[in-house]
């Protein structure tokens, strides 16, 4: 939280009413406890968001739906007709984690065409992205699995956010970080100096509570050098059960698959999440799979995030350090350990 940006304030009591007004112009997503998980759900008008709930999933699906109808088709008419899906409406994610917002920064260069000189712009992604406002709520504590500070983030990092909210005793202090953020908070009063000061102190306290960050600058080269080290990857992946939990919970995993669901005459074209841990991911029509086993696939997943992606995108890791892949992994695979092992292994070779 920077000292020289505009700060607004909203009390906890005023929050439900304020968000209800926001919801009149778009969908407001906020974390909600459900079962043993915390998921982003559209907030019902008048409901207070569950500020203490740390989302199990990332909010990437608001911009990049788990399964999106690209268009529907009807081939029976005299002229075969394609119907575009309706334009998505505006959305606000209220209470995103800082790492969630930073996740979109890994998405953007892939989908906005910057990697292809602007030729391959993904309009489906971009139209939702431009209409989604991210209100990040700074974390009040770190989990054992958190490592945002290893990859350039922090519990209250403003990167990627339109608004950064910090919880204080009376309410939320909002740091306005973009024009859209300013419009969102226009009706709110400015924060007092005391309020802003309390927010700064809260941020500092949580930042200080984080253990020190590991040094990862050697990771891209180390992982590249281990590309052919089958034994290393076999050992690292031994207990991996190659489900898609890590990728689907990850704020930066952006892969998808396209399928048609059709009765032969009419149907829809779907874009659905795909994940590189799945044996189908690189399965070729011939039946050949260049990544036939989980060791190959885990190598790709880790290598992509910490070596291949950075080599294409100015050194940025495709990882925001949210730790969900560790926290929710059914077999306790720890990506931090793999990267550090790789650095160590490469140094020994």
């Amino acid at each position: 939280m920077s000292a020289d940006t505009v700060k607004k304030f909203i009390s906890f009591d005023a929050l439900p009413g304020f968000l209800a007004r926001v919801a009149e112009t778009g969908t407001v997503y906020a974390p909600r406890r459900e079962g043993g998980a915390v998921v982003y759900r559209p907030l019902k008008p008048g409901d207070a968001p569950e500020l203490g709930a740390r989302p199990t999933e990332s909010c990437k699906h608001v911009v990049f739906p788990r399964s999106e109808t690209l268009f529907s088709f009807d081939l029976k008419a005299e002229r075969p007709a394609l119907t575009e899906s309706p334009e998505p409406g505006p959305a606000v994610v209220f209470g995103a984690l800082s790492c969630d917002a930073r996740g979109f920064l890994a998405f953007d260069p892939v989908y906005n065409g910057s990697g292809t000189g602007g030729s391959a712009r993904d309009t489906y992604y971009l139209r939702r992205r431009s209409r989604t406002l991210l209100v990040v709520k700074a974390c009040k504590s770190a989990l054992n699995t958190c490592f945002c500070n290893w990859v350039g983030g922090g519990p209250a990092s403003p990167q990627g956010a339109d608004v950064l909210a910090v919880e204080t005793e009376q309410g939320l202090v909002l740091d306005i970080l973009s024009e859209q953020g300013a419009a969102f908070a226009e009706s709110l009063p400015a924060a007092s100096e005391a309020q802003a000061g309390a927010a700064l102190a809260a941020v500092k306290a949580v930042e200080d509570s984080l253990p020190g960050a590991a040094e990862l600058s050697a990771a891209p080269a180390a992982l590249a050098s281990l590309f052919s080290s089958a034994e290393f990857w076999k050992n690292e992946s031994a207990h991996c059960l190659y489900c898609g939990a890590c990728t689907y919970l990850c704020p930066t995993c952006y892969c998808f698959n396209i399928t048609d669901e059709s009765d032969g005459l009419s149907g829809v074209r779907l874009r659905s999440w795909d994940n590189c841990m799945s044996p189908l991911f690189t399965l070729e029509a011939s039946g050949h799979n260049p990544r036939p086993n989980k060791a190959d696939r885990l190598k790709n997943r880790v290598g992509h995030k910490f070596s291949y992606y950075p080599s294409l995108h100015a050194g940025r890791f495709s990882c925001c350090g949210c730790g969900r892949c560790i926290k929710s992994c059914p077999s306790s695979v720890d990506i931090r350990k793999i990267v550090l092992d790789a650095v160590k292994e490469a140094a020994n070779v």
Partner: protein, 652 residues
């Protein structure tokens, strides 16, 4: 795909309650349907020609015909689309007659349902694939199960046509029920005189191998190549040595054995030759009555046998044989009439069955052809015949008409008069059923020439009085009770499927009805075929019938078998399972459940995989439903095809 849809009117059978043109209009909008029309009779020649013309004119690659049941005309239309140049499996049928127009009269609902069934058929057809049969060689050998007159006829006809025939007979002799009869209606000619020579023909025919006192143990395989295991039951007499001299049967001390051939009219010995004309004329031991088996000592027959043929230690033997076709001719048994308490439930010796009476009438029977009352050996004067015992009687679970009792009762009444000129016969009947050639005349003759008194009514009670039996019943024509004093009562007991019929049907994988009679392929058009290719029916096992009909059906079954086995090669049904080796994980579940052992494990570059043995697979699809990853799919009934049908019904 370009689908053509043809909605058949079937005259007014379908069009009477289905708007066929409306269905055709709706079908025109279904996926891939490019041509849709209604048609008066799709199965008739002009109808088939119209289908063929449309295929050519519109470049159709698949055809849906909505008409009657595919069990009727699917083969017809498959041939038609083949003539049009398409693969025969690029065809689907929607059953809008038996399943729609014939079961309801609501035009709107029927039309809608018909359109739905067509949608379903078209949805499946879109996923049909061209299938091509494979050829396999045929074993030119026929198995005939049962050596009664129907089986004998089938065996002789087939053998005469040059086929090898294996005949299996449960009893120690062939001849069946007909061999027990004294005379036959309506000609009153001697049964054994007409049957005997044919039995001898069976024994002597170079193409026929007879296994008497044998039963079918197991059948596997499929049309053209059945593997059959025959159990040769231990006769305890080596038939290679036995000359049929009969010395053993004379000397056997166990003289109170039940005489199966003579229906228990008088006892017999434990070692027997069933009757003088038996084929094969060989002795066999009935262990239940043999002292050697019951008391552990005796051995008389072994001592007297001039050829040393008796072998008490003989065990059942098994013979494996490969055949191309099977004729089932297992005949019938009499219903157990002792369920009728009002007829004495078997307690009165002078109440006998019609078949027992035949043995009394027969010159080769235990009484030497003299009619004698079992109780006192006296010649009866008043003989009462009771018809419809366990026929047309729902109360004992036999609601059907046995068909032949009216005629044989008339015959027996005539023979009674011939044997005992001063006798009087009374016949209690419900209706006289005599629709055969010369039959009705016969039933008139017995009344008019032989003076048998026919009383229309059921007998309500038979009870002994003095040395006689009092038969009480209604006379529905006269309207009152009648009582007849009888010296002997003959029950015209109805027939039922031979004991063990259901078990045999299960081995043969054919259907049977609630009474155990085997189901023909179609009640009219496939009277001797079954739904299992290569298995045919002859005689009373398919439904009770008299001798002429049994013989006719025996010949018919032989003709069908000859037609089948005249071919060197048969086409296999390509609707069988196949394995996608990429998806198979070698879990063996399909192998575990396959009823035909048609799936084997193979090694593919070190990985276990399932493989279907194409000629053995029967296409049931059990493996398909078992395989969790759908790696094994039944062609023409794949998961996707059935799912498309489900979707077509549920999505719209």
């Amino acid at each position: 795909m370009k689908i053509g849809v043809f909605i058949c009117h079937c005259g007014s059978n379908i069009a009477g309650t289905v708007d066929c043109a409306g269905v055709a209009r709706r079908a025109a909008a279904y996926p891939d349907v490019v041509y849709s029309t209604d048609i008066m009779y799709a199965c008739a020649e002009p109808g088939q020609d119209a289908v063929i013309a449309a295929v050519k004119e519109h470049g159709l690659t698949g055809v849906v015909v909505a008409s009657c049941t595919p069990r009727m005309h699917e083969p017809t239309f498959r041939k038609a689309v083949e003539r049009a140049g398409l693969n025969r499996y690029m065809f689907e049928m929607a059953n809008i007659r038996e399943h729609v127009s014939w079961i309801g009269k609501d035009m709107e609902a029927n039309t809608n349902k018909a359109a739905e069934l067509v949608r379903m058929a078209a949805a499946k057809l879109r996923l049909n694939r061209e299938l091509k049969p494979k050829s396999f060689p045929v074993t030119k050998r026929l198995l005939v199960i049962g050596g009664g007159v129907a089986g004998i006829q089938a065996a002789l006809d087939a053998a005469e046509a040059g086929l090898e025939v294996i005949m299996v007979e449960k009893q120690p002799t062939i001849g069946g029920k007909m061999a027990k009869l004294d005379k036959t209606f309506p000609t009153v000619d001697c049964s054994s005189c007409i049957l005997g020579p044919r039995m001898v023909d069976v024994a002597q025919h170079p193409n026929i191998t007879l296994y008497a006192y044998s039963e079918l143990e197991e059948v596997s395989g499929y049309v053209g190549n059945f593997d059959v295991k025959i159990r040769k039951k231990a006769t305890c007499v080596d038939w290679d040595k036995c000359t049929g001299c009969g010395l053993c049967t004379e000397k056997c001390p166990s003289k109170k054995s039940y005489d199966r051939f003579n229906e228990g009219v008088g006892p017999t010995t434990a070692i027997i030759i069933p009757f003088p004309q038996a084929i094969p004329k060989k002795a066999s031991i009935e262990r239940d009555y043999c002292r050697m088996f019951n008391q552990g000592k005796c051995g008389v027959c072994a001592k007297v046998c001039p050829t040393g043929a008796v072998d008490y230690a003989m065990q059942d033997e098994f013979v494996d044989v490969k055949v191309g076709g099977i004729v089932a001719a297992t005949g019938y048994d009499l219903v157990d009439w002792t369920v009728y308490g009002e007829y004495g439930a078997g307690r009165y010796p002078d109440v006998v069955t019609s078949l027992q009476y035949e043995r009394m009438l027969s010159a080769s029977g235990p009484t030497g052809g003299h009619i004698k009352r079992p109780s006192d050996g006296k010649e009866p004067k008043n003989v009462v015949f009771v018809q419809c015992v366990a026929s047309r009687d729902p109360s004992v679970g036999r609601p059907y008409c046995s068909g032949f009792c009216c005629m044989y009762t008339a015959k027996q009444a005539i023979l009674t008069k011939d044997h005992i000129p001063d006798s009087q016969s009374y016949v209690f009947y419900m209706d006289i059923r005599s629709p055969g050639k010369g039959y009705d005349e016969f039933t008139r003759r017995v009344q008019e020439e032989y003076g048998a008194k026919y009383i229309r009514g059921r007998v309500s009670m038979i009870y002994p009085k003095g040395g006689k039996l009092l038969v009480r019943g209604a006379d529905t024509l006269m309207g009152g009770q009648v009582e007849v004093e009888a010296d002997l009562v003959v029950l015209a007991v109805g027939g039922e499927a031979a004991a063990g019929s259901p078990a045999l049907a299960e081995k043969l994988r054919i259907s049977y009805d609630g009474y155990g009679f085997f189901m023909e392929g179609h009640p009219k058009l496939k009277p001797v075929e079954t739904n299992t290719a290569g298995v045919f029916l002859a005689g009373a096992c398919q439904g009770l019938k008299d001798i002429p009909s049994s013989v006719a059906q025996g010949s018919a079954a032989a003709a069908k078998a000859i037609g089948l086995l005249s071919r060197n090669m048969l086409d296999s049904d390509p609707q069988i399972a196949s394995v996608s080796v990429n998806r198979c994980v070698g879990c063996r579940k399909c192998i575990e459940v396959c009823p035909f052992k048609a799936i084997q494990e193979i090694d593919m570059r070190g990985l276990p995989k399932a493989e279907v043995i194409e000629t053995v697979c029967q296409g049931c699809g059990l493996c398909n439903a078992t395989c969790p990853q759908g790696a094994i799919q039944l062609s023409h009934f794949t998961d996707n095809q059935i799912l498309a049908e489900v979707e077509a019904l549920c999505r719209f």
